[in-house]
Structure formats: C-alpha cells, structure tokens
Symmetry: C2
Subunit: 550 residues, 2 copies
C-alpha cells in the first residue's frame, strides 16, 4: 500500500451529505411531470430519439426505508477531461445500488468509453471504492475521449454488458458525452438490449448547465483552486508593488471560470470572451482596455495589478478567428514545400497570402505568437488554439502600447509583467465539500433513476445553494436539453452549451463593479479549500450560482 | 472597509502558539552560554565586529508574570522577497513589546530599508495589527530590496529613529538583510546611538538555516502550496495518463524547495542543483537521466510523469555556467553594434566568438533558449538567469532525445509534455499553522531580546518539530553565523548560505527512494493547507525538518 497524505487519510472519513429524498436509500417515490420538449428543433430531435424523446421530468421524494429491489449489475464510465469529484459520483452510485439491494454489483469500464467497447473492465469492490472516497482525479478507473457514436460500438457495448449481466450504464461526462449517452440509450431501447443509460453532468468549464442542471461538477473546486492562487498573486502584487500578473485560466470556450474567479478575487481586469464576441471587440480594443487600467493605477502610484484571461479568448475575437481560418487554409494549401519551411519562412509565406485585413492583424501580433500560429498545428494542419500563449501575447502587446504612451507623455508609470496559466492544477484537486456532496448525490441519485427503471436521463440535483437536506433530487430527459448544431457539415443533436450570459446576474454584477476594481486595489484572498472548519468557510457555493439563484 | 474572504475572517481569530518561555510575556529569564566564534574567518570577522562579536548564545526561560519594564518605541522593517508569515512576526513583536509595557509603541518603516532611510513610517496600532494577523503577504507595511550598507544610510537611520524615540529596530529578512542588520547593530553600538538591532530569519528558499536557526519562515507554507499543486498535477497525470509535467520551482540558488516538494509528493524525477554541481553533471547528463525515467515508465505502459526542476539549476551546471560567463563578456564587448542586432543576429555573433566547448553547448540548446540567453539581459549586460525557462528547455531536449531513441528502436512510448513554473503563487499565501506559530514566536521573542537589552542578535526559536510549548526560545549572535565571501572583488562578511547537503538526512532519504519513484507511480497528494482540522493534518512540519531533526 502506497503512502497517503495526512489530509487524504483524515478526509477519507468524510460522509458526504445527501438530499432528503435519498435519506432512506435509492428506492424513492417518483413524481412525473408533463411530457417534455427539446429546447429547440423539437421535430427533428423527436425523430432522432423516438424512444426517449418527451419523457417527463422526474422529482424524487423519500422512499420506504425497508423497500428492496432485485440485485442489479451496473457499469460506470468516466468520459473526457478530469473534474474534481468524479470518484465521489462512483462512490455515491456504489452506495446507491447497494441500498437497492446489497448484492448489487458495480463494474468500472477503464480508460473511458474505450473500455466499454474493448471490454476493459474491473469490479469495483467496497474496499476499492472506500480508498477513493473524497479524492480528486479520475485515476480510479481512468478516463478517455473516445466518442460513442457508431452502431458497431453500440453493439460491442451491449455485448460486453450482457456478458457481465450489466443492465444499466452510468456515463459521467460533459455535454458531448451526455449527448452520446442519450444516443446510446435510444439505441439500446430501440433494439431491446435491456440496458438503461443514465448521465451525470461533469466539467470544470461550467458550460453544461441550464434550467434543470444548475452546475456541472468540478466547477466549484477548480474555481476555488484557481482563486486561491490568483488571490495569492494579488497579495504578492500588492506587497511587491512591481508586477502586473497576466493569468490565463483553463475553460475551453466559455468564460465561466474566469468570471467566477473574478467574482471571488476582484482582479483589476477580467476579459470575458462572450462579451468580446457580442461587442465585436478587436484585439486592439482588449489591449487598450488593459492599458487603460494600467495607466489609471499608475496615476495613483500603483504599478501593479492582476488581469484574468479566459483560455478560449482568441477564438472569440472576430478578427483573430478570421485570421486563424485564413491561416488554416493558406498553410494547408501550401503543401509539403511550405511545411518544410521554418517558422519564419512559414510566417513570411502566410503574410504574403493573407487578405489585407488579416495581414494587418497578423503583423500586429508579437513575433513569438506569429510563429506559434504558423508552427504549432494539429495533424489536420489546423492552428492549435489551446497552445497559443494568450497571456504572453496580451502582456507583450500592453507593454508595447505603454511604451508608445510613455513616449507620447500620456503614461509615466513602470510596467513589469509576469504571466501564468492555471489549468491542470485544478482539474484533479480533491473536491470541495460542495463538489464532494454534489457528486456523491449525483451518483446516488443515478442509482435511484436506475431503480426507477429510467433511461436517457441525466441525474439532476438542484437547489444546491441551500443545505443539502433541501436539495431536490430527480431526473431530466437528456433530449430536453438538446438542439441541432451544424458540425462537420451536418446537423447534429447536441446538448446546448451554456456560455456566459451577458444579461445574467453574475455578469451584470461584475459589470457593475469592474470599473472600481480596475482602479482601486480591492483584492479578496479566498485562501485554500477548507474541509474541517466552520460551515461558512467549508460549505460555500460559487458566487456564480449564488448570484444566479438569489 | 474592503470585503474579506470567509476564510480570512475565520482565520483572524487564530491565536498562534508560543514557546513556554514566552508564556508570561516577553520579560524572560536569560541564560547566557559561552562566548561564541564565527563559523569561519574568526579573526577577520571579530575585527570587523569588535562590539558585537563573541556575544553568548542566549536561552530564555519563563519570566515573572508580573514583571514590568519601561515603555519602549520599536521600529520594524520587512526586507526582500515576500514570505508567508511576515505579518505574524510583526503581530508577535507588537504583542511582545506590549507585554513588556502596555505603553510601548511599534512603528513600521514602509517599503523596506528605504523607509528607514527616507523616514517613511507609520505607527502600527492595535486595530491595524489585528487586521493583518495570520494573513499572507507583506502588504501591511510593504518591503524593499535596498541594502543598508553605507555610513550615510546608518546616520539617516539613527536620526529617523531618534526623532521617533525608537531605541530598537527589528529587521525581518534573509541572509543578506540579517548580515546588514548586524553591520547596523555594530555601527549603532560603536557610535553610541542607543539603538538595538535584532534580526528575524525570513525566506521561502530555506537557505538561511544552520545549527541554531532551524528554519527560515515561509519555507513551510510555500512548499505546502507548491506541493498541493504538484500533487494535483500528479493526480492529473495519473488520470489522463498522457503528459509528462515539467515543473520549475522558485528558490533562487538552493534546491531546498525542490527537495522538500519531492519528499512530499514523490515525483518521478527531481533534479537537485547541489548534486549537479558536486558531480559536475552536464546538461546532457540531466537530459539523459530524465529520458531514462521516461523510457522505463513507457516500458510499463506509463507514458506520464512529473519532473521537478529547481529555479537556480542552470547556474549549477558547470558547462552552462561557463557558457553564460562567456556570453556576458562577448555580448558586452560587442558594444552598440551587436546590441542593435536582433536575437538571431546576436546568437550568430556569439556563436562565432565562443570557445569550442561553449559553442558546442550553445548549439545543443533549443533555439528559444539560445535567443533568450542573447536577448534578455539586465542593465549590466548580464544574462538574466531567472528568466531562462529551464522547464521548457529540459522538456524540449528530452523530447528531442526520445525522438532519436525512437528512431533507434530503443524507445516505443508516447511523449506529451506540459510545463509549469510555481513561484509567485506561494510567496504570499496565508501562513500554515507552523509558519503562523513560528513567525509569531519569532516576533514575540524579538521583543524578549529587546527587553533583555541585546543587539546584533537573531531571534531563535528551536525544537519546532515538537509541540510549541516545548519550543526553545533565545537569541543567536549574528556574527556567529558569518564567514567571509569574495563578492564583487572584495572579501565581505556574510551569513553562510545553507545549500542542500548531499550527506544530510533529507537528501540521503531522497537518494534511497528515487529510483523506485522514477519507475513506479508512488505519488502522494498533500492537498491544500488546512487550518481547522485534526492536529495531524494542521500542525505538520516539513519533511526536511523532520528528517534533519529525527
């Protein structure tokens, strides 16, 4: 047995809180709502999902403590990027199916959907599950990014489940994985495979949420880890008084993480991609906005500050989006001859072929970024946006702008810069109480959905700004969250992704205070996640959720 | 009043623990040891410090609870880089001088030694001190890097103290700041200024320690923050199973931080600069060592891992040290003509002038690093070693090595890499219980040294692997820790810097397990610093200290 840390040892004993409906186990009383519709494209979605479309929203109430159900075998899969709390979903599911019948068994498919197709599987025994309670990471059974999309995969999945006597699958994943879970549910039902499929909403990005799913798990913990670190940087900036820190934050396209961290720490500037797109801001606008804050603070003698930048930003800047699209085409068309050039050669080649507008944008970028755009390409020849060091690009461009302002006499401060990228540090942190409780409840509740014989549902636990015994447990038909999106040349049914809403309460609040934060030093230092202290320290909910629900 | 976080609010109430000797206040019973000598160069050090050399080691015991002393005015300065706990030193000093006489007053000189010379000062009142208890950062009064070295500075300092009635100064800083504190103490005593000077050992780097000072404050907290993050990366690596993470850790020249983090998380590889220097390892040796671990793990199907790299590494690699020295000379001699070249031009120019050995080393470096070495130079024309992205350099060179091995058929794995630098995130974290208690004790104990009429002493709190009531409080003559070092063409008295000792228990232990850690996945996940839980989680000491003292 490997060494485990003192904290992990103590934290293993934590008993996650459950909604009142699950207090007597996963055998619950089920209330059915009306038949449901998808959020858009109802006709087409209903045609694509004839067997699972239109199912009612389910709400659970406490069941009979002594009720028993037949023993079942259940399979579970972790899909996609890590998020804090995944292990607790599995622990909750384990305890949930055991509460239905102590002889129920849980099987973990390894390395994500691949394990289901290739039959890489292990039984998750009580001791094994216990050793992962309240821990971070997905190392318990691993995860993977294989998409479940083809009939061949579905048949193999059904076959492998059948061999283990598995009659229900729980897929823990993001919007795409849950969409695929629903496709699988539909296929199994249409083909009488006798296997239910239930999804659980996971992603630190926070972009899988809607009227019925109020948060994706992991968002809370990841934001707390990043906010701890940003708070520490704020304290450092305010102590040394000599650096502007540019912090890029993980979170793919949506800016929920950057916004939540801003709400937690009150940085001087936080760029929100959705606003950049809506206002069609240029790169120059963004640089100017940051430079304005630097200048205003310098006037007060404060030559330091904090800037938050969402990972996906460049794709939301219309002119950069256009530039990248042109570059993808130009460099691909250049063929092997261009491929053989070094970065400078590629940049020169691209420069000569770009439209006038894109060429101007390209020229305005720092040299390193120009090279990165030409050099770091994926196997399809496309720019790898996630590799673009936006934080360095903006810091450098702001520096250049300030130099010009200094020469013009409109800026008299000193500008020192540091850049950071926070991402991997937060994806596998041990879950906060919120995520530990929420995940455990999601998993336990998935067992209740299975017990209630449902398929094509997402496990739903709501009202989480209240104490756990007031949380509302139930199930939402996955089709209900779907619309059609045009992807790779075809219309596909997908769960609608939740971007930051510019008229939503979290952004509105941010908007109302950001001018003050830009100039004043109003930092808040959240500090590290606490597990053992007073409830007002340990049982926090995100600022985003609190603003959305209050 | 600005918003403060829930944790900061709850943590403000924490009462740091004190050694038993200070339980009745700073009026203590003093035991004097024998006259002391410096660690080397005794004759010269004693000539340089005729008034303060040879003072005895002091040990304190509990004093009379009802004793009173005259009210005094004391000044305090934070010097150099931030370290967690600085505010608690000030809070301890405040409470300590108040325990001597409730009418004692504390003045904070702002922005470091500069404030003392320029008379930028504020009185630290009870309310103000309370609002900073147990917080991180140095923002309470700011810090600075001005060195107190000249008679002119000393006279200004004496004048400014005299005007405020200050008869004792406490300087909180690293080895250089404490050396200067001693020079100041000597000057004040020799010139009958009537101002005592006492130092407190600060630095996250951990290189200010010796037989009498067992830790510099901030080291514990900074290492815990970095270990939390590295542990999270380990969990992520072990979950996604597709990246090697190369993590550079702050800590200037010594590798104490890298070693401590290694002991806490069990990474696959940790480079220790002192070993590199002692074994005269080449850059190629280091790359080969990391590549060996990658290959061995790939053989077991584990294409992931964690590598820790100390910030100061490049200066410990003999060939790189030689290369940098040559580059400094060559580029300085090149004058304005070379200065005007771009990075490629400079690199080509340098390449043509380097010795054959250094030219070969230069050629072996990745392009980006070559440019960095030629471009990022300080105002004196020297390479800025701290800007060299060693983590990227090593990751890239390991990648290149593995490609060659793959072509040769000696490696069949996949190598994906991510790089990180952890530094600023840890310097201003809120102090752990260890640092909160240790710092408060150091400050309170400094008041005891002042009360006992001593000068040229460092506040010493030892036996800290035991509960606080068994900690030993006292004072160490700063001259005792000094030797002469050749700096800028002259012999200077300095506190001997503590590097990682290769025959010390922490390194010996690391050496005994690292082969196992390299191949196996033996990660430990320390998690975030806890303040409210069981003592075995909240009152940890560093692995380094535990190994050194047990």
């Amino acid at each position: 047995m490997s060494e485990i840390s003192a904290l992990q040892k103590a934290r293993a004993a934590y008993r996650p809180k459950l909604p009142a409906a699950l207090a007597n186990g996963a055998f619950v009383k089920v209330s059915e709502g009306e038949a449901t519709k998808s959020v858009a494209d109802c006709d087409k979605i209903s045609q694509l999902f004839p067997k699972t479309y239109g199912s009612p929203v389910l709400t659970f109430a406490k069941g009979d403590a002594k009720a028993a159900a037949p023993a079942i075998n259940v399979g579970v899969i972790l899909s996609g990027g890590q998020a804090p709390g995944g292990h607790n979903v599995i622990a909750g599911l384990f305890d949930g199916i055991k509460s239905l019948n102590k002889d129920s068994r849980l099987f973990g498919f390894k390395k994500g959907p691949d394990g289901l197709v290739k039959n890489e599987v292990m039984e998750l025994t009580a001791d094994f599950v216990d050793s992962y309670r309240n821990t971070g990471g997905f190392d318990m059974i691993g995860s993977g990014r294989t998409k479940l999309e083809t009939v061949e995969q579905f048949e193999l999945a059904a076959e492998n489940c059948k061999n283990l006597g598995i009659t229900a699958l729980v897929i823990i994943g993001g919007d795409d994985s849950n969409t695929n879970a629903c496709v699988l549910a539909e296929y199994f039902k249409a083909n009488d495979k006798g296997i239910q499929v239930v999804g659980c909403p996971k992603t630190i990005d926070g972009d899988l949420k809607n009227e019925w799913i109020e948060a994706s798990f992991g968002f809370d913990t990841a934001c707390r880890v990043y906010s701890e670190l940003i708070g520490n940087l704020c304290r450092d900036a305010n102590s040394a008084k000599k650096y502007w820190h540019f912090v890029k934050l993980m979170g793919r396209s949506a800016s929920h993480i950057a916004l939540e961290c801003a709400l937690q720490v009150h940085p001087n500037v936080a760029i929100i991609s959705e606003e950049v797109a809506a206002k069609r801001m240029t790169l120059d606008d963004i640089v100017a906005q940051i430079a304005r804050a630097v200048v205003a603070r310098a006037e007060n003698g404060n030559n330091f500050g904090i800037v938050l930048i969402p990972e996906g930003l460049v794709e939301f800047i219309p002119e950069i989006k256009a530039l990248i699209a042109e570059l993808n085409d130009i460099l691909a068309a250049g063929g092997a001859e261009v491929e053989a050039l070094d970065a400078v050669g590629k940049a020169n080649f691209a420069q000569s072929k770009l439209s006038a507008a894109s060429a101007a944008v390209f020229r305005s970028l720092p040299e390193g970024i120009r090279k990165q755009l030409c050099n770091d390409r994926d196997p399809h020849g496309n720019v790898q946006v996630s590799l673009i060091e936006t934080e360095k690009m903006l810091a450098e461009m702001v520096g250049t702008r300030l130099k010009a302002m200094k020469a013009a006499g409109t800026y008299r401060g000193k500008f020192g810069k540091q850049t950071h990228f926070f991402g991997y540090e937060g994806r596998c942190a041990a879950p906060s109480n919120y995520d530990a409780d929420y995940c455990y409840s999601l998993g336990f509740n998935a067992a209740a959905l299975i017990g209630a014989g449902r398929t094509g549902y997402m496990s739903s636990v709501r009202n989480t700004i209240k104490p756990a015994d007031q949380w509302i447990a139930g199930g939402i038909p996955i089709t209900m969250m779907m619309n059609l999106e045009h992807r790779h040349g075809a219309d596909k049914p997908v769960i609608r992704k939740a971007l930051v809403e510019l008229d939503g309460a979290p952004f509105k609040f941010f908007e109302s205070v950001r001018e003050k934060w830009a100039v004043e030093t109003d930092y808040v230092y959240p500090g590290p996640i606490q597990y053992f202290g007073p409830s007002e320290v340990c049982d926090l909910v995100t600022k985003t959720l609190a603003l959305e629900k209050n």
